[in-house]
């Protein structure tokens, strides 16, 4: 039986990883709400964020802030590229849902293989943003990175909320999500909005990857599990608002890391996926029915 300390510790860890899931989940929601597409390649943005930052930080010796920013911009660029080259032509031709999902999966495989060819298949990591730590409260250790994740996560959700509510582009994106045809009739450039949603969502994913890498590692294959966990978080959060998605992520992270204490770390994705299957079993329309039903 795990001790209380172990459980609390796992709770703390769970919040950290959960916030990251939440950020990925928001990425899913942004694209989904703008276009009705679930981008199964969401996880590769996370992987690329970590990989790029590692390359610049460790190999090129650039400062962290620069590495992180350049990575985010670069990954956002890749997101736009995926949208331009693949998703948009399919979307405009009204390709079936299944075909688009398949295409995003193929994109994931493609990017993973390119990463192996160019950067190798070895796992890699870099140090916490703030050296030192962890912060000790009794027997509970809280790594400084967790505060970075918390802070950046909160900041991003705040910025996103402001963006959606206060800016023209944000409001246009929301209009798209409510009714695409009507938005197009009102002169919202729907194509540009789709592109924006991919850029945003890729940037979010990259940020998540950059934040989480110091606490574990990144490698070409981490995309799929991160992507799936993000999707599960999005389902729990109901595909609606950014804070709900973040909350969904935290919920998932906590349950998952609790389970790790019981069954061992190797099975953490198995646990998450089993949670997904169970959730879907009891809530076949998703937890927050209405909106998620379309997913």
């Amino acid at each position: 039986m795990p001790s209380l300390v172990e459980l609390v510790q796992s709770l703390v860890n769970g919040v950290g990883i959960g916030l990251v899931y939440g950020l990925i989940a928001i990425g899913f929601c942004v694209i989904y709400n703008a276009s009705g597409i679930v981008n199964f390649a969401q996880g590769v943005f996370v992987m690329l964020g970590g990989m790029f930052t590692h390359a610049m930080l460790i190999k090129l010796g650039w400062p962290l802030a620069v590495s992180a920013l350049v990575s985010i911009v670069a990954v956002a660029g890749i997101g736009v590229l995926v949208q331009l080259a693949i998703v948009r032509p399919m979307w405009n031709r009204k390709a079936p849902l299944f075909a688009i999902i398949l295409a995003t999966l193929a994109v994931q495989l493609l990017i993973e293989q390119i990463v192996i060819l160019t950067m190798g298949d070895q796992p890699r990591t870099y140090p916490d943003f703030t050296p030192g730590g962890p912060l000790k409260i009794g027997d509970i250790a809280i790594s400084y990175q967790l505060f970075w994740i918390l802070g950046c996560g909160a900041l991003m959700v705040l910025l996103l909320t402001l963006f959606f509510n206060r800016t023209r582009a944000g409001r246009a994106l929301r209009a798209c999500s409510q009714n695409r045809e009507a938005a197009a009739l009102l002169g919202v450039p729907v194509d540009a909005m789709l592109m924006l949603s991919f850029a945003l969502s890729a940037a979010l994913g990259a940020a998540a990857g950059i934040l989480i890498t110091p606490t574990q590692y990144t490698a070409y294959g981490v995309g799929a599990p991160f992507g799936t966990n993000g999707f599960i978080a999005a389902i729990i959060g109901g595909f609606g608002s950014a804070p709900a998605a973040l909350l969904g992520g935290v919920l998932l992270g906590v349950v998952q890391s609790g389970a790790i204490v019981v069954v061992g770390a190797g099975y953490k994705n198995v646990v998450a996926l089993t949670i997904l299957l169970v959730v879907l079993l009891f809530f076949p329309q998703g937890i927050f029915g209405g909106r998620g039903k379309k997913a």
């Binding site: 199964f40 295409a103 799929a224 198995v270 299957l277």
Partner: protein, 337 residues
């Protein structure tokens, strides 16, 4: 074909319906080409024999997947899970428990079938993205388990020393004999597929693929038929996994990973989904394509991904054969409207 004996009552029934889809003679020409190719490979031998063997194995997988995706029009991104059950089942049963390969294959198949019922029953009530993600999750779970459960699967390192197929003292060791053996199995799989497609059972599946409301209104038990198609696909996948284990002699989690999903979809799509022979033709053509550009390993996966993306983006009509999924997004007709 005996399966069309009953069609003789109708004077103008087109050829053998569905065996080749709309491609008709083009497909027939392709089949002839493949036969020639077969002869060539057989005579030439060497590495191409291995390529062809894998094509047959993937062919078995795709013919099964076609039941669920082609005939029934449902998407599963996790059928590789059942191939893994077949592969590891065969490996473990043979190596650890000394079962003869054929028996191991059958036992693994039974396990995969039971797993498909247990997993499919709740999962298949889902639709759209949820179904896609749930099935995708199945594949990921299986992958993680095969990596983590080292005492059973030997983890990343994979499982080596799996005996070749054979009955009693006769083992299929010669590469050419292996190919013939695999071909016979694939042809049997195709025969089953053709017979089922043009029967009461197959018609019900195909009805579901284009109109679930229409099928339900005629008394078709949709959950039952979807599950049946899913289980059949799982059985084929399990056989493919077992065959891979016995023919190659080695399996690892990577064999049944995401690549398998993308590769088999490419094959299904290239060959013509929803037709009887399409999946097999697709498996052969798509296996040979990367060989023609003489690329291997990583480049091969990249070639597949690019090929599939090209097809999806520039030939979206090719997917319209998947009629049930062929509805544009957001245009899910309301039941009964």
């Amino acid at each position: 074909m005996t399966s069309h004996a009953s069609t003789s009552t109708s004077p103008v029934r087109r050829g053998a319906p569905g065996w080749l889809g709309r491609t008709g003679y083009v497909g027939l020409g392709g089949a002839v080409l493949i036969a020639l190719l077969f002869g060539f490979v057989f005579v030439k031998g060497g590495y191409l024999l291995t390529v062809m063997q894998l094509a047959m194995i993937y062919g078995v997988f795709c013919v099964g997947l076609n039941f669920f995706m082609g005939y029934t029009g449902q998407a599963s991104f996790g059928q590789n899970a059942f191939a893994a059950i077949g592969g590891y089942g065969s490996a473990i049963l043979c190596v650890e428990y000394g079962l003869p390969p054929v028996l191991a294959l059958l036992v693994a198949m039974a396990i995969a079938g039971v797993a498909a019922v247990v997993v499919g029953w709740p999962t298949l009530r889902l639709r759209g993205h949820y179904l896609a993600m749930a099935t995708f999750a199945l594949g990921l779970i299986t992958y993680d388990v095969s990596v983590q459960w080292e005492s059973l699967t030997k983890g990343y390192m994979g499982y080596a020393g799996i005996p070749p197929l054979g009955i009693g003292p006769f083992e299929v060791e010669d590469e050419r004999a292996k190919l013939v053996c695999l071909m016979v199995i694939l042809v049997f799989g195709l025969w089953v597929s053709g017979r089922l497609r043009n029967s009461r059972f197959g018609r019900a599946l195909r009805a579901i693929s284009t109109s679930e409301p229409g099928a339900a209104a005629l008394g078709i038990r949709i959950p039952y038929y979807k599950l049946a198609a899913f289980v059949i696909a799982a059985l084929y996948a399990s056989v493919a996994g077992s065959l891979f284990a016995h023919v190659v002699g080695f399996i690892s989690p990577e064999v049944f990973g995401l690549q398998m999903v993308v590769v088999t979809f490419t094959m299904l799509y290239v060959g013509g989904i929803g037709t009887v022979l399409g999946p097999a033709i697709g498996a052969i053509v798509a296996s040979l394509l990367p060989e023609i550009v003489r690329s291997t390993g990583r480049f091969q996966d990249i070639a597949y991904a690019l090929l599939l993306l090209g097809l999806l983006v520039y030939a979206p009509k090719g997917l319209s054969a998947l009629s049930g999924l062929g509805r544009p997004r957001a245009a899910e007709p309301k039941p009964g409207s």
